[in-house]
Symmetry: C2
Subunit: 416 residues, 2 copies
């Protein structure tokens, strides 16, 4: 971007594991262009982070990921702790060596899984499926018979039973640091309780205090271990309550974390997500990278980037891909159902303008055939297209920010 970087500032985080440079700030919004340096490479921000829950971005081998513009993925501590176990991953040299991909890896501490497993049910809230965009259409209580929680929260941590074999486990602020240290991811997250908008004010307020006490314990433990090759992000909670969100942003923002995670099932609608971001952004330290957890539908991207989000992750591009929903501008919810009758005889690729390996090689008719024939290749090919589409959109977003054309790009995509 020659001559386009008007403002060049450089911030050094205290520890060496992560350096975040804000290279440009949009004068018309809070969007910023950043450069996140980690032990496993550089991430240009703002960007989308594909999800690799079980140490694999579903259907994608390392060379498939490298063929895209993906520099960072997020794996899941809860799942990897249960299977294959952090000790095994450590024996194999850490997540990058274990999965054979030498890029940047973030791990989620398991707070959302604690929530998914039924903590919300314990407190009398339920039917939370489909309000969380990162998990749209997925029943959060799928592993738990109604009313039978697998999770108990105490001051010490989260006691839970494995969804795989029912075995008992305990996550504490300290041991989730230990587990993530064994996993060897570049960016690790503190344990938090992820509340839902259905929780009442008192529950959410008490939960936030617990999350903050846990954050302090996690940071203390992290610092006592003198970890130099991993960066630690705190997580902001506070539900749908402005004062709690402000309080959390101030509390977490003031601590010596390398970066800030923004958590919680952020509401029932897009506007709820944006409202939460509007509440907290003024209280966040400008120089630290901000990761929004579990959000990343195409119609969210512009509004969250305009509110200063640097990175965000979401399962939908990969999940949609496996079920035959191809991301495409102009379609309802940006999804072309490749399994539909209208694609059966269509010789065109998903998107004529797309440069992904799938669109360069295959017709809608072929993809339609693969899905109807239940061929394993089907989901892989649409996953490639979906990830390419999102990564390419983020490249366009970054360029639009520096060129001052973000609102034009937004209006091209968000046609209501």
């Amino acid at each position: 971007m020659p001559n386009l970087i008007i403002e060049q500032e450089r911030y050094f985080i205290k520890m060496s594991a992560l350096k975040f440079d804000i290279q440009y700030e949009d004068p018309n919004s809070q969007a910023r262009i950043g450069r996140l340096e980690t032990p496993h490479g550089v991430v240009e921000t703002p960007t989308f982070i594909p999800v690799g829950t079980q140490a694999t971005v579903k259907t994608m081998k390392p060379s498939d990921i490298n063929a895209l513009d993906v520099s960072m993925i997020i794996c899941n501590t809860y799942h990897l702790h249960l299977r294959p176990g952090a000790d095994l991953v450590a024996e194999m040299g850490g997540l990058q060596k274990f999965m054979g991909w030498n890029g940047v890896i973030m791990t989620d501490s398991g707070g959302f899984q604690v929530f998914s497993l039924g903590a919300s049910m314990e407190h009398g809230v339920g039917k939370v499926a489909s309000i969380f965009p990162g998990d749209e259409g997925k029943k959060l209580d799928r592993h738990t018979p109604k009313g039978q929680s697998r999770v108990k929260l105490t001051e010490e941590g989260a006691h839970f039973r494995s969804h795989i074999d029912g075995s008992k486990h305990l996550f504490t602020p300290e041991n989730t640091i230990d587990i993530q240290h064994k996993l060897g991811s570049d960016i690790i997250l503190v344990l938090d309780e992820c509340t839902s908008p259905f929780h009442d004010y008192d529950y959410t307020s008490n939960s936030l205090e617990l999350t903050h006490r846990w954050a302090k314990r996690a940071l203390d433990h992290f610092q006592s271990l003198n970890i130099k090759n991993q960066a630690l992000y705190g997580i902001i909670q506070g539900g749908a309550h402005e004062d709690l969100r402000e309080k959390s942003a101030t509390f977490i923002g003031d601590m010596d974390f390398h970066g800030i995670g923004i958590g919680g099932t952020l509401g029932e609608s897009k506007s709820d997500i944006y409202r939460v971001l509007d509440w907290i952004t003024p209280f966040l330290p400008r120089e630290k990278p901000r990761h929004l957890l579990g959000i990343g539908e195409i119609d969210n991207i512009f509004d969250i980037v305009e509110r200063g989000v640097d990175t965000f992750d979401c399962v939908t591009p990969t999940r949609y891909g496996r079920y035959g929903n191809a991301l495409l501008k102009g379609e309802n919810k940006y999804r072309l159902d490749i399994t539909s009758a209208k694609c059966k005889k269509d010789p065109n690729p998903i998107n004529l303008e797309c440069e992904c390996a799938t669109c360069q090689t295959h017709s809608r008719a072929y993809l339609n055939h693969l899905f109807h024939a239940k061929e394993p290749l089907a989901g892989h090919l649409v996953t490639i297209h979906n990830l390419h589409t999102l990564m390419n959109l983020m490249k366009d977003v970054r360029q639009a920010i520096v060129e001052g054309t973000l609102s034009e790009l937004k209006s091209q995509w968000l046609v209501d």
Copy 2:
């Protein structure tokens, strides 16, 4: 192979769609080094032909296939006729354009599927699962309740019901040529009845007469269409009866086919396959390429190549791959069960000496994890290894033939 090609002879098949050069013949066996030229490229023989039943080698996208030494695959007329239909494939420009892979494609006429669907049951034979190495472990009657055949053979052809929706279809010697002409494969096969060793002599003899009458009708029809861009192979049947096999080899060998298919479920044991090959080879025209249908376990390869087989196909490398059986010398039946407990903590690749993308990148422990976590990537990674292993073995076999070391290579592999 400089200075190694002692004998250089060139045979031209009458029509232009296929040229087969025998470049070298092993003085110690009937093995030969060949070069099969087709409209979509050259195939070095002897070689293994991966199976792409539904216009996809399961889990493998075109670039994955091209990363291996695969120049030819075999697709299935029965499956493609039912779904997506030959007309659609023709509209899309033929199989190569439809699947986005520009290599050599052979199609099987559907004779084996007719057999699978229950023709054998109609004639009082059953329990044929597991005797056919190409379909080992698969119940042939899986789509058909016992005693309820979906197939009726008449002089006209094979009447059958779809395993997908029960719809009625008829395959004739003529329309299977038409269908394969629409599919646009480089090498097409005549319709045959595939008998089993359980059929009695009279049934097998009558069936062979029908197969021969069908072969003549197929060739007449093929010639009347004046097809120039496809080659037609006849198929030898005759069950486990020496005189019938000789008769069939002579009959099919004398006709104006571009090549010879060797069909039938060739017995219960490896030695049955070799006996059939020993019976027929003396009666086969030397200059025509020979394809052995549905055989290709590692412990078959040397013996069939020594008996003059040029190409052969088998589903096992890809099927084993999807179920976690990795081809490896020294293991029981050449299969390492990557899902077994002994692989759980093994940091080594499947095969330390293997140069496939999977062995260059991933440990047994990671593959074990992917299978236990039911990740779709698991089967793909082992499929890559299995196909690489077979293609690489065939490269070694070709080199050993020209170097006169085939028996040494065989004894390295076949340690009983």
